[in-house]
Symmetry: C2
Subunit: 336 residues, 2 copies
Amino acid sequence: MAYTIKDVAKKANVSIATVSRILNNQKGYSEQTKKKVLKAIEELDYHPNAIARGLINKKTSTIGVLFPALSSMLATELLAGIEKTAHELGSSVIVCHTESNGLKTMKYLQLLNEKRVDGIIFTSEILKEEYYEFIQKMNIPLVLLSTESRAYPVPYVKVDDRRAAYAAVQYLIKQGHKRIGMISGNDQDMIAGKPRIEGYLDAMSDYGLPADDSFIARMKGFKFSDGTEGLKLLKKQLPDVTAVFAASDDIAVGAISSAYRLGIRVPDDLSIIGYDNLKIADMTIPPLTSLAQPFYEMGEKAAQMIFDLMDGDELIESRIMPHSIAERNSVLKLGS
Amino acid sequence: MAYTIKDVAKKANVSIATVSRILNNQKGYSEQTKKKVLKAIEELDYHPNAIARGLINKKTSTIGVLFPALSSMLATELLAGIEKTAHELGSSVIVCHTESNGLKTMKYLQLLNEKRVDGIIFTSEILKEEYYEFIQKMNIPLVLLSTESRAYPVPYVKVDDRRAAYAAVQYLIKQGHKRIGMISGNDQDMIAGKPRIEGYLDAMSDYGLPADDSFIARMKGFKFSDGTEGLKLLKKQLPDVTAVFAASDDIAVGAISSAYRLGIRVPDDLSIIGYDNLKIADMTIPPLTSLAQPFYEMGEKAAQMIFDLMDGDELIESRIMPHSIAERNSVLKLGS
DNA sequence: TTGTACGCGTTATCAG
DNA sequence: CTGATAACGCGTACAA
């Protein structure tokens, strides 16, 4: 059995109160006794019990993070950022894999509640009413990451997808492209789907370029297979397309792969720009130009916000993170 | 403030003991009172405090997992498997990102100790003496995942790298290749480095094929850049190579990329087989044939073992997980 | 400067 | 079947 504060007290011939004081470096003891106690702690190899501490302090130094999918590069970059900041600030993070499943999500929320986590980061998904209500009752800080809520006043950290998409398309336009198509993810997705389509449309419209329904291949998801299918579809709908904006890197990579099979050279025959700038963007042939989301930093920021909220900073503002273009070689500059 | 068992007891006009019994569905109460209590619980929306429970039960239903790198597909597949099983068995998982840093690792171990986690899964790295000793003192189950220890009797879950490498090379041989090179990771790495080289050498030797130093490009790591550099090096050392065994998928992808730039066609001019079978293997051009490690299942198994150990199963045996070949299109079958 | 004693929310051991 | 009550390990008024 592990030693307790009592054992230390006994060994050092002091009361547990004194030991506690020294442990939490408060004041109220002589250097003398401090040394005595420290020595006892050392000798016993005593380590305070965070559980007992949590019970009395009503603070567990643990936060919960919910992911719809764990094994995606995106999630892990976020997680890495969260974990780093949390650890720096003395907290641990419990990961929860919801699979976008309502029941599972509620189960996790129950769990996190019983474990009395200090805060929750909810990522990459719509915050349903049920979730929100429950977390409200838990009465702990909540931050949305890589998602946002129109329905509830919850601070979030994300890029402005509409503007980011606009920027990506604008980049294509500035390279001289005019017939620009898009392979979009699920257009019912109000977070990552619709805004990116709107951004695309905004840009095309602003620059006086045509873009009707035949310019967009609306897929069901944001995966590699959506990219392979998407490109075929788009090519059928818009044979003279010279550049495509893919709503995710996975889609973009799928498109590149599909293009290769179709004998379409990238970027010579067709330019492609991705979205997310995952590690994979560096590994494709050609390396993929992509709209970069700063996932790691977003994770850091979200964790930071949780702690600010815990510290009572009443009104934390949401944070729109800056996007940028990671320029590589999948987009051809067209001569005028 | 959240309600406590006391509030429930009061509301239901029973003692906290009775409430506790019902909560933990033990016996010793009438259906009558059970209903009363359940109603009170419902009305108050009471949720037991896992911290208080942990204090008295000496069980936190939490395990800690240490990763040297979080944002790698490999780690996240492992994590996903661990998380799934842990959750099924009623536990949460705390992730720790050590960055292969001794000090950070010890700090995390301290933390996990203070948090009184029920067990620890240590992944993808050498278990140093310092770590082992500390965890020994913690006196909780420890399982090694995707690594093993020669120095200490700790159960592990991993594939047999030497045999797996052998299998990969054998596959190449069976496709008719004879001039087979290898791009290896760090040969000082006793877990993922050396055994794979040995497996390669074993296979070449068993089939009477030549394989001296010029057949191996020994790189520093297992990354994409090691693959790009590795291929160039190998091509210089062994100009007539027809197939290469890459010690990781990242290396393999780098090699493919490098080959492309060098005007070497894969698989027509050069066959490449990877190692790990990450998601990325599906996305390359051509899709990468790779030696598959069942990461997700390995994570599941490791978690399972932790719980078996917690349940007192004294001697848990290590588990060598089966590898396989994920056949895609990066290896050419040579005519006899 | 130091020690006593109570409480944090549970579970478990006794009596009744 | 039920209810006090003592732990669990620690922090902290309060007293000394």
